[in-house]
């Protein structure tokens, strides 16, 4: 089991912890973008380097097989990580107070 249990440190993680677990040095954004939620088989590290970016040693998109090309498509888009939101308003505790404005229709419907 790879897990993270941190001792309380003054600010930054200890060097040994980060060295053993490089993912601890990733930003929150990078870590959660890296979770393979769809479970599609991950490409090997060698071929996963920057597809479509030849400058980083990746392959040109047109050199990939159809299967490889569509495997790497992020069909679900890339959601933004850690977007701050405003707290929800607590629902007002409205009690069903009997209304005082009884109309003639209301009154007559009592005898309906």
């Amino acid at each position: 089991m790879i897990s993270a249990t941190l001792s309380a440190t003054n600010g930054h993680s200890s060097a040994s912890q980060s060295a053993n677990q490089p993912w601890m040095r990733e930003t929150v954004q990078a870590f959660f973008e890296g979770v393979n939620w769809s479970g599609v088989a991950m490409r090997s590290a060698a071929s996963a380097t920057a597809i479509g970016d030849p400058s980083l040693g990746g392959e040109m998109p047109l050199n990939l097989t159809v299967g490889q090309f569509f495997e790497t498509m992020s069909w679900e888009g890339k959601p933004t990580i850690g977007v701050p939101i405003a707290p929800l308003e607590a629902p007002s505790s409205t009690t069903d107070m009997p209304s005082d404005d009884l109309t003639l229709d209301d009154f007559s419907s009592l005898f309906g």
Partner: protein, 220 residues
Amino acid sequence: MVSVADLLVDGRLPGNYFAQDLYVRGSTELGLLENRRGDRLLAIPNPLLQAIYAGLEKETGQASKLVLYNCGRWWGKNFYARFCEELADYYSQPLANLSMAEFLQSLQQCWKTHGWGQITLDITYRDQGFLCLEIDHSPFTAAAPDSQSPSGDLERGILEIFFSQLTGRELVCVQTSCTTRGDDANRFVIGLGKRLQAATALVANGQSHQSIMQALVQQG
């Protein structure tokens, strides 16, 4: 010669924001509890927790789990909003830019300081699309009556909405082990709903967390 001043960012070194001695303040004479920003805190005594479980069971029966889960989702959204805001203010940068070490330490300390037990992130199945969380010493399931099905519905709702908001995806949380069933800790798995459908039946069959995770990974 290294100057300490050169190591500081903006002349300060962010520490442990949720440290209990600093985070919780209040006047016992007035019966007021606040956090370090002045937001009100509520202390819930154990008998009240037990009464909530007992009362819900009596009033709503089987639906009590759903009620607690929905309470968790509602409250968890506010928890996420405040957690984000407080950390962003403290570190002077958006939550997304924090390192995972800072984020996890803050989440763990926050959980502990609020008295909800010890939360641990397990990334064993990250590449398969699942994140696991373990909660030890949960006061919620400690107060829940013994049950053959997991009772951490409040926490399940909180974790589900917290990580859905954080990742910007509709994620689902399933509890795979629970102290009320005699397990050693409460464990939860988070992932896409369609990939966790099998988990519910496996939990109902009393499968262990490990075997549930193996089954989820093998389903592809």
